[in-house]
Structure formats: C-alpha cells, structure tokens
Symmetry: C2
Subunit: 768 residues, 2 copies
C-alpha cells in the first residue's frame, strides 16, 4: 500500500490533520453520489492549492475527438466522457475581508473529514488562523439526497474565535468549468441562460454536440447561532457565473451558518424548456423540509440500502471499513433504476475512463447487483446491451464483419465505440464474450427464463456470429485460431490465441446453440420471431459447433498448463518478486514497449477464464495455473486482486486470499496503485464483494441451487452477508465455529453447503 492516513473505523472514512499533498487523493476517496449525480470532495470555499475539481451528472457526456496518430479505418471516432458539470457546491467565505483558503492559512488545527457511510453524508471541521490573524472554527456537512435525487444540501458554519468578525458567505454557481482530460481543449458547455429571483439562482447550459440540457440551481439561507437571518445578498453575475454575497456580522464565538440547497435538473427527467421550473420545484421541496429533515431522510434511505447489502466483519476494522466503503461507493454510483445508465469504472469520482461502460459491468458488477437488489436491476443492465445491439452490429460491419455479427464496443455511452486507444478497441474483443456470459450468469442466478427468449437470444446470436467469423483456420495447427487480440491482460497487445479469449469464444458458440435449442423447444413462437428477425439459418449452428469443437488452445507440455497466449513462454520469465521495488508499478516506471514484451500480467487473464468456467476444470488444474501465473501478475488493474482472492480461497490458501482481499477492498483507501487522486475504482468494488461472498463464502449457483463452501480468514472472528436469491433473502453468517443460514421468507430453501444438500426453513437458524 502507498498511503496510510485513513483512520480505521467500522462505518466511516476519516481523515485527521490537514496535508495539502493528500488533498487530491481525499477528493476522490470522500466523494459523494446518489446515482443521478456525483461530487468529488472538493472544498466549498476557495482552495488555491492543487485540486482536481469534479461534479458529474449521470448520463451527461460529450464525444470528444479521439487522439490517435494517423487515423486508420476502424479507429474510434470519438472519446466519450462524462463531463465535469457546472459547480454547485461553491461557497466563497470571506472573513474580515480575507478569503478563507486552507492553502494560505497561517495555521490549521483539528482538521477532520468524515464520510459517514451509514448515513450517507460528508463532513469537515477545522480551526484556522487566517493571514489577517482572525481565528475561525469551520464546520461543514453535505450530502446528495437519495430521496430527492436532484438535490445536494450543504450546511456550512463559521465561528470567529478570537474576535468579532464580518463573515461574507458567497454561494455561487459556476459554469466556467473544464475537463482535465480534454483532448483538444474544446468547449464542452454552452451556457444559454443565467437567472436569479429572490434567493434562487439558475444557470442553464447544454453540452456541445450531445445537447444534454441541464439547469444548475441554488438557494441559500443564513443563520446565526441557528436562528434564521433575513439578509439581502449582493448579486454578482458574469458570463458563466452567478453568486450571492451575504454579509453576516458575528460576535466572537457566535456561529454564522449557511444552508445551501443546490443541484441539477436535466432533460433526462424533464422537458428541456422546463428545467428552471423543475429546479424551482426541487428547491421548494428541499427548502420546505430544511437541512435537518433532509438529512434524516438521507439516513433512512441509506439504512434501507444497508439492510440488504451490508457485509459485516467482526474482529478486523480495516477489512470492515474496506468492504463497506466498496458497497457504499457502488450504491452511490448506480442504483439500477434506469436501463439507460450504467456503471463507469470510476463512477462519479474522476474523469479517467470517461464515465463510460466497459466490460467491467458484465464481468464484475452484475453478481453484486443480482444478489443485493431486485433482479430487475441486473436485468436493466442486460437490457442496456440489448438496446445497443444494432449499434454493435454496425460496429462489426465497420470492421468487415457481415451477416448480423455484433462486436460490442470496448467503451461506450450510447452503443457506439468511444475509446481513446485504437489498439484496445480492435483487439480487446473478449468483452463480447463477457456480455454473453452475463446473460448466462443472470439466468443461472435468477432462474428468469423470460429474458433469453425475449431479448437475450438476439444478442447471443449476433455475438456467436462474430466469434465464428473472427476465428480463422490455421492449416499449420489444423485448428481454429483467434489472431491479433488483447486479453484482459492489457500488458500484451496483438497476441495470438489468448486462452481466455479463445475459451470464451468457444463457450459463446456452444451456449448460443444451447439457448437456440432451448428456446426452440420451449418457446417456439419466440424462436420463430427471432429466427426471422435475425435471419438465422440452420447450417449456421453446425458451423459454430465445428469452430467451437476445433478451437485451439496454446498448451505447454512442460508446465502442464494452458498458455496465456501462443508465445508467452518466449518471454524472459523473471518473477514479479525479483523486480526491484523502485520499478513498480511498471506502468509508471517502464516504457510501454518494455511492458508489452515482459511476462508481467496486469490482471487475471487465464485465471479469469478459470473463474468464469470453473466447472470445466479440476481443482488440480486451477492450482497449477494459479501457481504458474500468480508469480507474474502485477495486479496493476483494480480488477485483478478479487479474482486471485477467489481462486486462492478456493485453493484453501486463506492467507494469500486475505492479502488479496485487503488489496481489493482497500485499493483506494490505501492507494495501492499510486493513482487514487484520479478517482476511485468503482467497478472493481463489486469484485471486493465477490471476494467475500464467492471467495470466502464460496457461494455459487449449481443446478438451480445456491451452494456455499464457507471459509474464514484467520484474522476475522466472523462475517455475514445477505443474498437475494430468487425473491428470498438468505442471511449467512460465517464464524470460526461454523456457519449459520437464515431465510427471510415463508418457503424453505434447499441449498448446498460444502456439496451437501441442506434445507433452510423459515424462522429457523440453520447452523453448520
């Protein structure tokens, strides 16, 4: 780990003491969100030190022109990004004529930040001596309301400690924001109107090109010692900013407070001409409730979420803090109610990865959402891809594929490819397999037979067609090969026969044929509809099976393992533990070509295949592959440690599994990869959940039954989690003494525990 300043706590993330070097990291870690918008933990007041400002609105993105060298056919046309949106949190604070600015204060004492995950709010407090020697105590608290998801609420208090003071609160809205990752310094926002009435202000703006219309709004109240004061503000309005300055005269030790209610209304929810109207309504509701009542609603709303999704760990505060942080951030990012939204790798906590959808959703996030929410949430995530099918077919056509073959984009906002790196978009085609796997995984877990016949089969057929065309026959090997790919290990480019990709391709072809047969057998009418719609020919499936049967997998007789790709063994096989620490992480220390020809694995690749398809390999095979690949794995992708954790646990290597668990669960809190300031790794947080539930709990679904093989790390007394399985909630508690299961419904449920069938009865604790 690379940082150790977050205080251990079961329910909160806490920072104590001010360190300008940690500001950007903390801005990521203390981010808040409510599914509809997100906000980095930027200070409300001016901060003149290094900072990374970020306010994001779900689904509001811009198609920035890509940066590639000489454009070649098939390169992605644009690089989509969820934009830094107009600033709604800003409050300039001027104390006796001097702006409060933590970067220039003479002295800062008792700085404390808390992200209270149980209740869903962020607070900050400190004592500061300004350059003008005024001494102030500052307290702030803010949250993004789950209940009113257009509203953010801030309570900000200043108490002069050494004398009376004139305090000016100047809440503002600022549309003059930029993106740090802009490729061409384009202007992203067009401000169409700035208005104010009474205590309210509005900035109407739409994104360039994509034309997402938004209204950013605010309204404030001033209190002195908790009593409302009616102060007439001085209004300042410029091209892209509007502010209200409230001057408050305070006595020594009197507390001046501002409540700022602010946020966004967007044309995803309202007509674009009614955004100001909608903003007024939202403000009216919020102001009427008041800060404290809204905060109470917030606590209740989070309490509901935790009821289902909490994982508690006894005896290991850091582990407990880690998993709750992960679950909290996942819920801040995506609540699953809108099939047009999805989960970006950084959620709403930074600009990297553009806020777009990657294969992370299908490979890592779906299990979490399936087990902790209503099944409709996971189904919404599947439907997101169904809605994009025609664009995926177009995408494949651009690359020369025919007959309705689909290649889903590596990165997308609206179904179109929108990545910044051509080599990944062309080569990292395994994402197409993960999208198919998610359909299988959803069906396996939920037992929902309707999705495949209604929508999923069309997706599967288009994906199978892609793999069939993408495989080519090697006369030399007398097998079908898949050339020129990048596997999950992005530290290799343009390799041949990546085991994971080839296996996924083979499986996709087989599974699609299974699904076709099953739909034909059980839902002939649906089959006919899909057959006509996709122009499916009987002989196609035979050809698919031929390719699946004759798929090539590189294998080393010497090591008795499948090779990650054809020429893996030609590399200089120096293990990671032989690398000097000064050269890690290699993606920051080495040139890219050196990484590409090294044996170092960015993230689980062959082992990812063993995770998806564990039924097809023996434990001994898993062990050999784990022993071979783990020593070359640098885990420089956030998506890596969780898979290794699950595999280590399966192999009974609990100490190693525990290390991987800490790494995945505290990846951001402890900044393992030296990059947390860029934002949090949201999608891998679902992998942390899998580490406990699938890794330690050993949860699987086998033949329609939930199955467990509970293990517990030495360091823990117990842990417990809940799973929503087919409309029943199972409560699992694992301790060193055994495991208990409880069911929250009226029907008994047969499960497997360590391969033995047992039945959980309602209202009875099953102890094993």
């Amino acid at each position: 780990m690379n940082q150790d300043y977050i205080k251990p706590d079961n329910w909160s993330i806490i920072e104590e003491g001010f360190d300008a070097d940690q500001v950007k990291s903390s801005e990521s870690i203390f981010s808040i969100g409510n599914g509809a918008m997100g906000q980095r933990a930027n200070f409300e007041e001016l901060y003149s030190g290094p900072t990374f400002q970020g306010s994001y609105i779900a689904g509001v993105y811009y198609p920035d022109k890509t940066r590639v060298g000489w454009w070649k056919n098939g390169y992605p046309e644009y690089f989509a990004k969820v934009l830094n949106a107009p600033n709604w949190i800003g409050i300039n604070v001027i104390v006796n004529g001097e702006p409060l600015d933590l970067f220039t204060c003479k002295k800062i004492e008792g700085f404390r930040r808390e992200l209270n995950m149980k209740e869903g709010w962020l607070s900050r407090s400190f004592k500061a001596v300004l350059q003008n020697n005024t001494q102030v105590q500052v307290e702030s608290k803010r949250f993004l309301s789950l209940e009113l998801d257009e509203i953010g609420a801030i309570k900000y208090s200043v108490t002069p400690l050494n004398d009376n003071a004139e305090i000016i609160f100047e809440p503002y809205l600022d549309g003059g924001i930029t993106n740090e990752d802009s490729n061409w310094d384009d202007k992203f926002w067009n401000i169409t109107g700035i208005a104010h009435s009474d205590n309210q202000a509005f900035i109407e703006a739409h994104t360039m090109k994509t034309n997402f219309h938004t209204c950013t709004f605010m309204q404030s109240e001033i209190l002195v010692n908790n009593k409302r004061k009616d102060i007439k503000p001085k209004i300042f309005e410029a091209e892209d900013i509007i502010s209200f300055a409230y001057t408050v005269k305070t006595q020594k030790n009197q507390t001046a407070t501002i409540h700022k209610y602010a946020g966004y209304t967007v044309d995803r929810d309202h007509h674009q001409n009614e955004l100001v109207l909608a903003a007024k309504k939202a403000l009216a509701t919020a102001v009427k409730s008041g800060f404290e009542a809204l905060l109470k609603q917030q606590k209740n709303a989070w309490s509901e979420i935790w009821k289902m999704s909490d994982i508690s760990i006894e005896g290991d505060v850091k582990a407990q803090q880690g998993i709750r942080f992960n679950i909290f951030q996942l819920n801040q990012t995506y609540l699953g109610t809108d099939a047009h939204l999805n989960i970006g790798p950084k959620g709403f906590t930074g600009e990297k990865y553009g806020g777009s959808t990657y294969w992370d959703t299908e490979a890592y996030c779906i299990p979490f959402y399936m087990a902790t929410k209503d099944q409709q949430v996971a189904r919404n995530l599947l439907e997101y891809r169904y809605h994009h099918l025609s664009k995926a077919i177009e995408n494949a056509e651009k690359l020369g594929f025919t007959n309705g073959a689909a290649l889903y984009p590596m990165v997308t906002m609206n179904g179109e490819e929108c990545h910044n790196e051509w080599e990944i978009t062309f080569e990292e085609i395994h994402r197409n397999g993960a999208i198919a796997f998610a359909i299988y995984n959803y069906h396996r877990f939920t037992g929902d037979n309707s999705y495949i016949k209604e929508k999923g089969l069309e997706v599967l057929i288009a994906i199978a067609r892609f793999w069939y065309q993408r495989a080519t026959f090697s006369t030399l090997k007398n097998k079908y090969v898949i050339l020129g790919v990048t596997g999950p290990n992005e530290y290799e480019n343009n390799v041949n026969n990546n085991f994971y990709t080839n296996y996924l391709a083979k499986w996709c072809l087989e599974y699609t044929v299974d699904c076709i047969n099953s739909v034909k057998h059980n839902y002939l009418e649906d089959f006919e509809r899909i057959r006509v719609k996709t122009n499916l020919k009987g002989e196609e499936t035979y050809k698919w099976i031929e390719v699946a049967d004759d798929m090539y997998f590189p294998f080393s007789e010497e090591h008795n393992i499948y090779l990650q790709q054809d020429s893996f063994l030609d590399k200089e096989l120096i293990k990671v533990d032989k690398l000097p620490k000064s050269e890690r992480p290699i993606n920051q220390k080495w040139s890219w070509d050196r990484i590409l020809r090294s044996p170092y694995i960015k993230q689980a690749d062959t082992l990812q295949g063993f995770y998806f398809f564990e039924d097809r390999f023996t434990l001994e095979e898993l062990e050999r592959h784990f022993d071979f690949y783990e020593p070359f794995t640098v885990h420089e992708s956030s998506l890596s440690p969780c898979v290794h954790c699950i595999q280590a646990a399966k192999l009974g290597r609990m100490e190693q599994a525990y290390d991987f668990y800490l790494r995945t669960s505290r990846l951001d809190l402890d900044d393992y990869n030296h990059e947390v300031e860029e934002g949090l790794h949201i999608t891998s947080m679902a992998g942390t959940w899998m580490s406990i539930v699938e890794g330690f709990g050993g949860m699987r679904v086998n033949n329609e039954k939930l199955s467990f093989a509970p293990r517990i790390p030495e360091q823990w007394q117990s842990y417990s989690f809940k799973v929503n399985f087919r409309q029943q909630i199972i409560d699992v508690n694992v301790s060193k003494d055994g495991t208990t299961f409880k069911i929250n419904g009226r029907t008994p449920l047969q499960i497997l525990v360590n391969d033995k069938a047992v039945t959980i009865s309602p209202d009875n604790l099953l102890t094993i």
Copy 2:
C-alpha cells in the same frame, strides 16, 4: 495504375486539358525544388477549387504535439513537420475587374502544363473565357534557381484575345498559411514584420517553438509586349499579407507580363537580424540578371546534374520518363551539400511524413547518392546520424536501455523521436540496423577507410549495444529472440522474431566486432580514443558474438523458408490475386485490425533481408523465398516494388522485373497507390534508380571491385547509366546485343562482368 493523364515524353512531364479532379495530383507531380526549398505546383493566380497548397523550406520544421490516446511512458513527445511556409508564388490576376480563376472560368482551352526536367522549369499555358466574357491567353513559367538557391522566378503573361483589357497583376506574399496535417490547430508561424520599399516586399516570420527565422520576399517587373513598363503599384498590407497591384491597360492581342522574383532567406544561412538585408541582396542579383538569364543558368545547372546522373532508355518512352522523373525529383530534394539536411519521404511535395528523416535514407537513398555524386554527399548523410548519436542514446535510455546503447528514432528532424504513431516508434527498431548497414555499404562502395575510425565506429558500438540488450533469451527455444517488433512490413504489429530484424541484429553485432578488430589492428590510436569515449569493455564483444551466434530465426520445414515472423503461418494464407479488386488497396478499404491479422505484406520484408545480405544466401534460397512471399505482397509502400524488381531480375524473371520497374518508376505519375495528391514518394525514387542499376545492370561491389550482370527488359532497345566509383566515372550501356563499358579517367579499372574479371581502359570502349 490509377491514372493515365500524363503524356509520355522523354524529358518532360506533360498534362494536357484541364480537369479540376486532377488539380491536387498535378500539384504534387509538377512540384519544383532546389534542395533549399520546394513548391507544389499550385497556381499563381487564385484558384477557388480543391487545392493543396504547399511551400516548404528545407530544415524549417515545427514540433507539433503528438496525437496518442492515453500517453504512456516512452511515447514520442512531438510530431515534427516541415511547415507550409509563407506563400511566395501568389499573383492575383484581375481581368476587366474579374479575378482569373480556373475553377470558375466559362471555358478553358488548350490547358497545358509542362515540367521540363532537362532544364528544370515548370510552365503552364491555357486559353480561358472569364465569366465577364473576356478571352485571355495565359502563359506562365517558373523555377527555383539552383544557382541562387534563395530565389524563385516566375514569368506570367496574359494576352486578351477578344478585346482590349485592363489587367491587374497583384503579386503578394502571404504569411497566413496553415498546415493540413496540423494535429491541434496550433499557430505555427509568428509574423514579426511586414515591410516594403519600392517594388520590394518582405514578411519576416519565425516558427513557433523551434524559432526558425525566415524572410519571405518578392520584387516584380511589368512588361507589355516584352517592354518594361514602369507602373506604380497600389500597395495593400494587412496582418499577414502584403500585395502590390499593378494595373496594365492592354490592347487586344497585346501581352502583359509580370516577372516575379521571390523566395526565402533563412537563419540557417544568415544572422536572423540580417534576413531582410540578405533578401535585398538576393533580389538585386536576380533582378540584375533578369528572368531569361536566370533561366539560362538554370538550364546549365541541370545540364551538369544530368551529365552524371542521367539514365537513358531507348525504345520505351514511359520507362524513360519514369526514371528521369525519379532522378529529377531526388535532385530537386537533396543535393547533399549540408550534413544538417536529409531526405524526407515526400521531399518538398506534401505534408505527409512531416518532411522528416526515416530509414529510407540509409536503406534506399545512399546508393543513388554514392554513385551519382561526390562521395562527400553520402558521407554527409552518414554524419547526419553521427551528429544525432547522443540523442539516440538518450532515446534508448528513455526506453530502459543502458551502457550507451542507442536507438535511433524512427522519424527525426534533430535526432529526437518525432513520430505520430507510438507503435512504430517502439517496435520498428530495424531502422537501427539500416543505419549500421549504410556505414558498411558506404565503406564497401567508396573504400573510404577514414569514416569508420573517425565516426562510424562509435555509432556501430552504440547500435550493437542496443541489439545485445534488446534480444532476450528464450528458454523454450534455447536461442536469443527479439520480441515485440514491427518489421518493414508495417501491416504486422508487435510480432516476435521478425526475420529481417533478427538477421539485421545478428549482422550488426558481427559487423561491429569486425570493425572494432579492424580499427584496433589498423588505427590503434583511434581505437583507444573510441574505447575510452565509449567505455568499451573487452567482454562486451564476446557477449555480442554469443547473441549473434545463437540468434533465433523462425523457419518452416514444410515450405523450406524462413518465416517473416513466428506466427506467419497461422494466418489465412489467401494470396493477393484472390482478393477482389474492390478491396484494394487494403489500407484504404479494410479496417486496421483486419490488415494486421492478414498475411498481406505492405513492403518487402524477408526479401529486404535477402537484398541486404545476398551474399549469405543461395540463388535457390532467394527463389524459394521470392516465390513464397511475393504472392502475399501488396506493395502498398512505395519502397516495395524496387526490391522485388531487383530480386526478380536476379532470378532472371525479366517480365516480372519490368512490371515492378514500371510500378516503382511511375508510382506517382500513374498514381498506383491512390494517394499522389498527398505528395510524391521521393525516397523510393532512389529505389527506382537501384532497380535499373542493381536490378537490370546487376551492379554490385564485391571484394573492392565493381561487378555487373547486365540484363535488359524485352521492351527496351538499350539503357545506359553512369557510376561514380572511387573517383572514376564508369559509363555503362546495355543493349540487346551486349554491354559496353567506358571509363572517364586515366586509370584502367578491373571490374567483374557476369563473374568474369575484365579491365576497362581509358578511352577504350569495352564491349561484352
């Protein structure tokens, strides 16, 4: 071929009839240059149709920011480009109030363009009817003076044919120019001064960042029916443009003429404060001589060049026109007098490839310049790289190499890597070998023993160190391998054990050790100096030889050939002639990933190795490799057909060799690759020269002796060329009846003809 509008002619390139669709192609083909500057064949007068404007000054470039996706360690920092420079050719022509514009004229008759290669000028004539019904005859002629290399001269005449006319000539200088290939729309030029005095005008400007200072200047004279007229111009001056409008009243059939003398002075030749002064001097000299006298000097200068470098072909006008066009353009681009300049792949005829230096110079251009110029010219080209050695070492250090290893950049202006494509800069490392090979080639041809001991050996040692470190040991193969490269065939990326690269690496290691031993033996003092300077250790050379001896080469037993790279045979080996014509060229029709995994070879790769190292392979081996690879070669690089021509000729396949000859020599004239409008393929033109001299003439140097194996294509009666070999000029004439050799000196010369030793005596024609 894709166009057929250039009229066959022995000494000129001729276009007849105006076709707006050909304007951009002709702008490339009819380009003029004098080594110091170059000018596309843009019209002097306004042209409102599609055009690609280009005026270039040798060595004046800009480091444009590169476009890459997410920047990774070692990516090139900038993309250098020789800039489109202020326009010096422009002359607006207004006839009876209407601007002459070929795109809008009512009628154009007798349009004719001629690039007279014998004398080095470009002319244009046409009859046009303007929208206002004025009928005019227009004649223009221009050239870039070889004698006064800062001067371009234009003679432009207009004759009204149907009535008297008021003709306004408005010569101008325009600094408000842009580059089409600008990555970020940066401003490249900063104009620091616009001035005029009498008939002269000056624009002083320097490039941003690189700060190359230039003065663009002009002076004009007006004539009516060849008599000078003293007309006071109306001067127009704006931010970045200055023009002089001369109004001339002409009678019907009277000819109004303007002489415009213009060009650039640059701080490569003058102090930056004296550029206007230098311009005035250049103008004074030019104006004093006058257009016709300058033209005569031009003819004489070109006559001198042709004396040595001409190749004449009897019986095949198109073939003749092709080779002369190639030799002409090479001489327009680079005259070899300045070791700071080099030869960009497009010379001064377009923006692509940025005017930078590629490996083309070493692999293709050096033989031409060695044989047709003084040996100092080739030596200057070698010294160019010697001057860049420390930057090449820095470049390698950035990529993790140590101990003085050098990796020369793929593309450079000043020794730094400045390409737009990261994958090429990292992977296409074979250029390092070509730079070593050129040292060998120069020494082999010239017998100049001083270069290696003075400069070359340092370069060789640094290159050997690179190859030694870049090769890694494969336990699996029990050999040294070179992973993750791109060979000359850029239609494969990141492959392992590219035969050409591995062979070149092996050869470099061996040759460097040979040179070390030879310098140590013959020039101990030099050796000591270099040993100390490079910190060369004795054991290094042993290790180099070990790697050279144990280098791995992929080989197919089945085909009995070396494989282009490890996995070439895994590809779908469908031959080029089975591809539908509609899918060619594949680089315009296919997506990049499809190209990368196809077997199609952009340019000679394994065969390039057989060309460099032909002594090490038998004719049978060559034949097998030619037969295997040629059917997969699409020749979508200009550098490909010449190598295949040479190899086909060597195999006695003269019909095929002839086709390749036409393809290389008329690549641009007939636009084989659908892209001539982007500019000419200058460096490959030296390959055309090699096709005749080395391919048909079979010229080699063996054991210090010139050797020939003359062949002649069926379509030709005879051909002849000259070679400057070690200060003696040999004149070779090959006809169907035999070959004659003449020597232009006082010493007899023993040569080999078809492996037999014969002696050419001065003043005696040797006939064989």
